[in-house]
Structure formats: structure tokens, C-alpha cells
Symmetry: C2
Subunit: 236 residues, 2 copies
């Protein structure tokens, strides 16, 4: 669906196999707002879609639940998570603390090749916006942050960032108030400049203000209504 080849990788703890495939496909759909908060993921339905037994589907759903992308209610089933206002606030507070540090670490050890990959990624973001594919654009802009965490070569922070970014996607689906979705590009470019100079402090500051800016784009008073009937939007 993206206009260019992707350099980022979807990740999960799951071992290779059908459960992992299902996890990744559902995650993709969630991050690109193909599946919106509140949507039910019936085991039979998901199994039907992917040609897998309930055993396999349950493994994937439980993993998504541990990643907080899905909420499992006893005897009722799995639903795309609907982060509360407080959780939204907290996720962005955590990002404001952690991601600047990670960006600084990346700035220290980033290579020209890394920078080139990031540039291409930003270009892909532009392309997606130009193509009117806002879901893909959102997904890509999230992955930009994950890629930085990977460059920093710190797996513990990287996993935490991945988790926070994923949850941010749900939060944006529920609470985003701005009309412009293109707000990201400027900060991402500025960050690249700091990276090119290996300027740790600048990278930290830019990342911090970027996340504060994202945070301020949320309307944390009212929650959007999300209905959407089913999970028929799972095309590759």
C-alpha cells in the first residue's frame, strides 16, 4: 500500500508462524486506522479471515492484549483498545521523557546510511500524504520514531518506544483535533539536521518539543465516537 519500499519492520515477541502473521496484520490495520478503537475481533471471524484455528488466533489476540492494543473481556471477547483520557496523557508524558533521550543516543552513533534511510522514509510519508492515504501516512510517521529507537541500539528503550508509539496511534484515533495531518514533517526534517551533525543536545530538544507539539494536538476532554461495524478492512 505504501508508495515506496519500507525499511521498517513490524515486530512482535511471537515466534514465526501463523500467530505471528495474524498479530502483524492486525497491528498494521490498527496502526493505519483501518481497525478503529472499540471494534470487536471475534475469534471465529479472525480465524476465518486468515484461515487459522481459534487456538492460533487466541495466541495472537493475547499477544496484542499484552501490547495493550487489544482489550480482552472475560467471556465477551477481544476489542481494539480504547485508551482513556488519563492513559493518553500518561503515554505522551512517558514519550516526552524517554524519546528525547533515545534521540540523543541515536544522534551519537548514527551513520550516513541510517540518515539516508530516514530521509527516504520521510519522502515516503510525503508521498502517502500526497496520495491522500492518511492512514498510511500516520503509520509511517509513527515508524519514524521507532526507527530512531532502533538506530540508538538500545533494545529496552526500543521496545518501550514501540509500545508507546502503537498506543499513540489509538490515542490519535480517539482524540486528535487538528485538521492538518502534515504537521509532523517539519520536526522530522529538523531532527535529521541534528542527526547529520551528531548534535546530541539539539536532537534531544527537537524531539522533546516535537512530542510536546503532538501532545498539544490532542483534545483530551471529549472522546470521539467510534463505531465501524466489522473487520473487513484487512487488505494487504
Amino acid at each position: 500500500m505504501g508508495a515506496r519500499a519500507s525499511h521498517y519492520k513490524y515486530l512482535t515477541d511471537l515466534p514465526p508462524g501463523k500467530s505471528r502473521d495474524i498479530y502483524i496484520e492486525l497491528q498494521k490495520a490498527i496502526l493505519s486506522h483501518g481497525l478503529l478503537p472499540g471494534v470487536k475481533l471475534s475469534e471465529d471471524e479472525v480465524g476465518e479471515l486468515f484461515g487459522a484455528s481459534r487456538t492460533i488466533v487466541r495466541t495472537a489476540l493475547q499477544a496484542l492484549s499484552h501490547a495493550q492494543l487489544v482489550t480482552i473481556e472475560k467471556n465477551r471477547g477481544a476489542f481494539i483498545a480504547q485508551p482513556s483520557i488519563k492513559e493518553a496523557q500518561e503515554v505522551f508524558e512517558a514519550r516526552e521523557l524517554i524519546e528525547p533521550r533515545v534521540a540523543g543516543m541515536a544522534a551519537k552513533i548514527i551513520t550516513p546510511k541510517d540518515i539516508q534511510i530516514l530521509e527516504e522514509h520521510i519522502q515516503a510519508e510525503h508521498d502517502a500524504i500526497a496520495a491522500g492515504d492518511s492512514g498510511e501516512a500516520l503509520s509511517l510517521s509513527g515508524f519514524f520514531h521507532v526507527m530512531i529507537a532502533d538506530i540508538a541500539e538500545h533494545e529496552v528503550f526500543s521496545k518501550i518506544v514501540r509500545s508507546l508509539i502503537s498506543r499513540s496511534s489509538l490515542i490519535i484515533a480517539l482524540y486528535w483535533k487538528r485538521l492538518d495531518t502534515t504537521c509532523e514533517s517539519h520536526s522530522h526534517h529538523a531532527l535529521l539536521d541534528a542527526f547529520a551533525k551528531n548534535d546530541v543536545q539539539a536532537a534531544e530538544e527537537i524531539m522533546k518539543s516535537h512530542i510536546v507539539d503532538l501532545h498539544s494536538g490532542l483534545d483530551l476532554k471529549s472522546r470521539k465516537q467510534t463505531k465501524q461495524s466489522l473487520a473487513s478492512i484487512l487488505k494487504k
Copy 2:
């Protein structure tokens, strides 16, 4: 096993039920070094111990694997995780960033009742040390940090801290080099003083240096050998 009633709670995402019980019991055993890194957790064996079917056991083991306390190897089974030297380093770097912030947040809003509970908890640590139960003492000193995160009333940070503390327990099992296990008490007391004065900055600084101190107690060159045959050490 503790000399006093516990104010802390073991937590998991799992819904109430046998899987949750097994998760919590295994977690307890891991955090108190009853189960050491590398030990195999056979599904049949665990199921036998708890009178549960493999289905239930697998749910618990998968949850522990997502918490990174257990490693699942395809077709080989589940083992208590053995954090690498790099992972150990990273976990403590993450703690050095996050926990001081959390301690500062707690200092802002802590109540006299909270402080009293923390005092009692420290006393329980002392009792465990006096009783020579170093496993329990270690477990309690970890929970002290989790309790602070809970006092800060920030669920996102709290979950991250819980995860880091749990993994620290495995790291300590593999890399701890000091002879004295009582090193903790002083810092914990100092932290309480800062809390009593609602001194945010002092709380941050004490927590930071406390974790740096813990970090320096690790020997991150060689990994201890851990054998231990089986999981027969699961008494309440």
C-alpha cells in the same frame, strides 16, 4: 513467608482464573530467586503442580514470556529468562532515566498514610534480612520501587517500572557481585525523608544515585552459572 502482611500486589494483565494464579506464583518464585535463570518450565510439570491443563499453563507461560521473565523456544519449551550483559546494562540505564522521574512525581502527591505503608515495608525488609531469607528480602526491596510507582499514580510508568524491576531480579541473580545484600536500606530510608518533606528534587536525586549504586553492584563481565534441576521450590 514474609514476616509481615504485604501491602504490595503482584500484578498481571491476565483475567482472574487459574492462568493468573499460575502466572503470579511463578512470578513470585522468580522474583525471590526460588526459580533461577535457565530453569525449564515444562508444561506438563507446571500443570501437574497446579492441577491445571496445558491450555491454562500455556496462557500463563506466554504471558510471562511477554513480560520477558520467560523465554519460549520453539518446540523446546519455556525457560526462565537469562538476560544478556547488554540487556542488563540497558535495563539499568532505563531505570536510571525513569525511576527518578517517578520518585519525583510520587514526592509531589504522597500522603502520610503512603509513607507509613512504605515504612512498614522497609521494616519487613529488615525482618527478612534478619531472618536470613535473602530471597524474600530481595523481592521486598524490588517491590519498594513498584510501590513508589503506584503512589505516583501513573499507570504507564508504573507498568514500565514493574517490568524493569522484575527483570532486574533476574539480572541480580546472574550478575550480582556484592556480598552485602543489605545495601538497599539506607537509600530507601533517605528516600522516605525526602517524601516526608515533599521534596521533589531530593527524591529524584536520591533515586538516581540509588539506582546507579545498584547498577555498580553488578559484575557485567562474567555470567554466573545457573543450573538447579527442577521447579520443586514452589511452596507458598
